[in-house]
Amino acid sequence: MKDAVNKDTIVKSKIKIVNLEKEFEGHFVSRGINLEIPEGQMTIIIGRSGEGKSVLLKQIIGLIQPTSGSIIIDGIDITELTGKKLDECFKKFGYVFQFAALLDSLNVYENIGITLIEQGYRHEEILSIVKEKLSLVQLSEDTLYKYPSELSGGMRKRVGLARTLVTNPEIILYDEPTTGLDPITSRVIHELMFDMQKQLKITSIIISHDVETFKYADKVALLNDGKIQYFGDAKTIWESDNPYIYQFIRGLTEGPITKEITYFKDKA
């Protein structure tokens, strides 16, 4: 098994996670995660449902407090920060939710421009920024005054991405961005994420079960049993002999990833 913390990496690490643990009511979801996310690259985190991938992302962005361990962003351990310093650090982040999490009482313009509206920007300034972000995610201006309930799943995810881009983040975390989308829309979203990352030099972390995402990614990390069991280049993932990754990407029932499968066998 490769060490998830790549000490000799040439690309600078943007995020370094050290011995991260998270406990919920006596059950450890994260059991000592060590991971380095390279700057300006796209890293995918894969793993079975319920393995704590979203919990890991939410710990990185501060929505969930880790039980122990460190999350180091640009050399600063954010688990030791509080108040305004922590807020400043989190300004580097954007988060794209699995189901977009658009505010359903606001239209697309208000959803994308919400941070600017709250900061008291003038309507003309907000409109110009919102239109710019809308075109970045390849949505027409016709959608500007539509409500989330009037949009398709793919459009909602694009609006969610545009909302994230308004704050000009250095790091974007994507929580299963293509879940529930048809293959064509999934591809559009993948290409959009890839373009964003290349154009804006954004460090991206993506949680995905979609094997298609590997084509666009630089690195892949496999989370199993609360730990990173594999970390390596996405381009060579199909040649990897790591038993976890071998089993996972081929969808094999036999292998080291057994927890849930054993359960079903027992039930059967």
Partner: protein, 259 residues
């Protein structure tokens, strides 16, 4: 068996203390936000519209029929002792001091308090609150404080309308159903109802407005467990608000007696 029993009592006591602590801290955090950050005026007015203006028709109906029933019931008793000329004062005092504020608060709790919990709770389970947090938007400033301020400010106005329509309801019954003298009804109100009675009723209304929005927002923010969780939180919000309003009403009445 005994150990299990002690364990259960201990766990329940810890849960209750935790909830009370969270509930109190929630209020102090809202208060702190109110005084340390800018109030969202447009959101506050929007909430006043939702909590107050949209509740107007049910408050009018509640006030009107409560006044009518109160007049009928009072008449039955007062007729026996020959005190029909005091019905106006009894209806007005009952409505102004107790029934107006309490019934308005209970109606608004059912209509708007539950809506506050359901709306915030749905935002929690659909990750909309998490989205706001990731955008570094203070959810207390954005969601909680405008609702609490709106509810506290608008409730005295709603209650005032409830009082007015309650007295009108009493008048309709006395004059057109019981065929009593309209002058007796009006003069007994003028003679026995004081401004302090109205002030007291409106103060109670403001406190009830605070309670129903505080409980509504608290239950919404602490919602968990999907659609079922939203349903449970909404029910708990209405029950807890109603009980708190009734209990607070007693202590406020005692307190206002001495003011």
């Amino acid at each position: 068996m005994i150990i299990q029993c002690i364990d259960f009592i201990g766990a329940s006591a810890i849960n209750i203390c935790t909830s009370i602590g969270e509930f109190t801290l929630f209020f102090f955090y809202a208060l702190k936000t109110l005084f340390t950050s800018k109030l969202k005026i447009s959101k506050t007015f929007a909430q006043m519209n939702r909590i107050g203006v949209e509740s107007f028709s049910i408050i009018v109906l509640t006030g009107l029929f409560t006044g009518m029933v109160l007049a009928l019931q009072t008449y039955i008793g007062f007729q026996r002792v020959g005190g029909e000329q005091f019905i106006g004062a009894i209806v007005a005092l009952g409505i102004i001091r107790e029934l107006g504020p309490v019934l308005t608060a209970l109606m608004v709790t059912g209509r708007a308090g539950s809506a506050i919990t359901a709306e915030i709770g749905t935002m929690i389970i659909t990750e909309q609150i998490d989205a706001l947090k990731t955008l570094r938007i203070n959810i207390f400033q954005y969601l909680v404080v405008p609702r609490i301020v709106a509810s506290t400010v608008i409730m005295p106005f709603l209650t005032l309308f409830s009082m007015i329509f309650g007295i009108i309801g009493g008048y309709i019954v006395c004059v057109y159903v019981l065929e009593l003298s309209p002058e007796d009804y009006e003069s007994s109100i003028r003679n026995y109802v004081e401004i302090a009675d109205i002030n007291g009723g409106l103060k109670k209304a403001a406190v009830f407005g605070l309670i129903l929005s505080w409980v509504g927002a608290y239950k919404g923010i602490y919602t968990s467990g999907g659609a079922r969780g939203v349903g449970i939180a909404t029910t708990q919000s209405v029950v807890a608000s109603s009980i708190l309003i009734l209990i607070t009403n007693y202590f406020l009445t005692k307190l206002l007696e001495h003011m």
